[in-house]
């Protein structure tokens, strides 16, 4: 049953909704609609979309690869310094992305800590598409860690015990019981990580630069267009709005624990 709310709360809630709606309305109002076709098929848009797709999907995959094990470690073990590791795992969420980018440069850059060894095995990260994916993964993998950690808390450990008592090794339990049971949370975390990677700007431009067809993702393209052609920037922005909204509607609020 829905309860009635005080009028003041409803008024503030409407204000909040308007707060989100107005910028979107502004984009819609100021967009040069007559140039839509031309802008959407332009080099900047197509290359930007292509790079964004590769970078964001690559970042989501990388996030899963490192985020799931780290989430399992945080949710399942206890060791001295666990609190510190948990804080470190969430650091990229609160860090300004540009700081993350500088950090990545000092670690993997040409003169960075691991720059030499990385180049030695033929891995060129700064100012490459792979580097852009790593920058995006860096800021988005905490979503996976959070999802796995929270999922483990609500998981019935009796099922894992049952599996072990029935002859399943640790690895088999993880593959056939734990991960399948966590699948909904991991999927929601992955979509959020992907969405975060799609919108990534600061870390990418700092670590990977802004090269069209290489590291220029949609947000970078929008920023560049804003300097010379604000109309184009509006249309490209709307593309991102539509994409993001589609993801959120598909998720139906699953990541905050509501919906089905």
């Amino acid at each position: 049953m829905r309860r009635r709310l005080p009028t003041a709360v409803v008024a503030l809630a409407v204000l909040a909704a308007a707060f989100v709606l107005l910028p979107v309305a502004g984009l819609l109002a100021r967009a040069p609609w007559e140039r839509t076709g031309e802008l959407l098929t332009s080099d900047v848009a197509i290359e930007g979309a292509r790079v964004s797709l590769i970078v964001s999907l690559g970042a989501a995959a990388l996030s899963l690869l490192v985020g799931v094990p780290l989430g399992l470690l945080l949710g399942r073990t206890s060791f001295p310094g666990l609190t510190v590791v948990r804080a470190l795992a969430l650091l990229p969420l609160v860090l300004p992305p540009v700081v993350a980018g500088i950090g990545l440069l000092t670690a993997f850059g040409r003169r960075g800590l691991l720059g030499g060894p990385a180049r030695a095995i033929g891995l060129e990260l700064p100012f490459t598409t792979a580097g852009a994916a790593i920058a995006a993964a860096f800021v988005s993998f905490p979503f996976i860690v959070l999802a796995v950690d929270a999922g483990l808390r609500s998981l019935d450990t009796g099922l894992e015990d049952a599996a072990a008592s029935l002859g399943a090794s640790k690895w088999y339990v993880l593959r056939k019981v734990t991960l399948p049971l966590l699948a909904p949370q991991i999927a929601a975390g992955a979509v959020l990580a992907w969405a975060r990677a799609l919108g990534e700007f600061g870390a990418t431009i700092t670590f990977a630069g802004n090269f069209r067809g290489e590291t220029q993702t949609m947000p970078l393209a929008v920023f560049e267009a804003l300097q010379s052609d604000p109309g184009a920037a509006t249309i490209l922005s709307l593309v991102l709005v539509v994409l993001s909204l589609a993801v959120l509607i598909a998720l139906r609020g699953r990541f905050v624990g509501v919906g089905s």
């Binding site: 009796g158 049952a162 599996a163 072990a164 008592s165 029935l166 002859g167 399943a168 640790k170 056939k176």
Partner: protein, 357 residues
């Protein structure tokens, strides 16, 4: 085949030290009140908690083996079926975990299900099963890989009368045909009495008594043991009577009982009724008109004193155990051989349906 276990675990304020022995072909009931440490023993046997004792199965130490390498079949409270797997995949799980091919595992799982849960759909999800069906599937999953020790943790807890009735014959069959050591963990004395050969009584983390039920009945070692040994047990055929009642016909006589709400009103075989001794009223003269439907007569066979209470064994047909205060014994002048009347209400008899051995 035999089990010899010296369980020793300590967790903060709770400590369990228990020695448990069981022979092949025997069902051992581990009986105790809630919180006695029964589940801790199960987890220790299965290797799922830290444990410092010694567990020997067939003369081989298994206590240092990880859980997956112990030759056990365990059913957990509530079934613990994997919600993301079908019934068939659940039962095939122990075989798949041991590297058996999917085809072979599923065909063996299917054969085991045919015996234990023939009416459960193989592709059903555990969520759609009734409690009794879930326990049947859990039982199939616990024996499909032919373990040497079958460990059942409270198989009937949380089930309604119908669920228990569904599960009971399967439990009896499984326990009777399982080739190895069987350990049944329960807090229900009737379940222990009707399914097990021997009993280990666990209270507050310690074994207070072990032996046959007759041993416990003759010489209960604790108040709890005395209470559970004194439970009156009637087994036989249940026939409907007028007005929501039934007649439980045993080899020793008849008992009027309340008809269980969820049982169809037809004559039913293999019914067990239990009656707490404290629900039996003892009279020294024939009682006048009273509401109790069961009024029996017989001589007092034995009086046993436990603290402030006295257990009165009455050689009526069927025999009865009543529990009264020492005050009433004095007031009524009860001695061995006194002729007494015992009465109890039909609704005090708790009915469960299923085979009794």
């Amino acid at each position: 085949m035999s089990l010899h276990a010296e369980i020793s675990t300590a967790r903060e304020t709770f400590e369990v030290r228990a020695t448990i022995e069981a022979e092949e072909g025997e069902t051992l009931a581990l009986l105790g009140p809630n919180g006695a440490g029964k589940t801790t023993v199960v987890l220790a046997l299965a290797g799922l908690i830290e444990e410092q004792g010694m567990i020997e199965l067939d003369g081989v130490r298994i206590d240092r083996l990880p859980p997956e390498r112990r030759p056990l079949g365990v059913t957990f409270q509530g079934g613990a079926l994997f919600p993301h797997l079908s019934v068939l995949a659940n039962v095939a799980f122990p075989l798949r975990a041991r590297g058996v091919s999917r085809r072979l595992a599923e065909s063996r799982a299917s054969a085991t299900l045919s015996q234990l849960a023939p009416n459960v759909r193989r592709d059903a999800r555990p969520k759609s099963l009734s409690g009794g069906e879930a326990q049947r599937v859990a039982l199939a999953r616990a024996i499909v890989h032919r373990p040497r020790l079958l460990l059942l943790d409270e198989p009937s807890s949380g089930l309604d009368v119908r669920g228990r009735a569904e599960l009971r014959p399967v439990l009896i069959d499984t326990l009777a045909t399982f080739p190895g050591v069987r350990v049944l963990v329960t807090h229900d004395p009737v379940e222990a009495m009707t399914l097990a050969d021997r009993v280990v009584i666990l209270e507050d983390g310690r074994v207070t008594q072990q032996g046959t039920f007759d041993d416990v009945r003759r010489m209960p070692a604790s108040r709890y043991a005395a209470e559970l040994a004194g439970v009156n047990l009637f087994a036989g055929r249940l026939e409907p009577l007028e007005g929501g009642a039934g007649r439980l016909v045993t080899t020793e006589g008849e008992v009027v009982v309340g008809w269980p709400e969820d049982l169809p009103r037809d004559t039913t075989e293999n019914v067990t009724g239990t009656l707490r001794p404290s629900d039996v009223v003892v009279h020294v003269e024939a009682p006048g008109p009273i509401s109790a439907r069961n009024v029996w007569r017989g001589p007092v066979e034995d009086l046993a004193i436990y603290g402030e209470r006295v257990r009165v064994r009455i050689a009526s047909q069927p025999p009865l155990v009543a529990e009264v205060t020492t005050g009433s014994v004095n007031q009524l002048g009860l001695v061995r051989g006194s002729e007494v009347w015992a009465s109890f209400k039909a609704v005090e008899v708790e009915i469960s349906v299923g085979a009794h051995r």
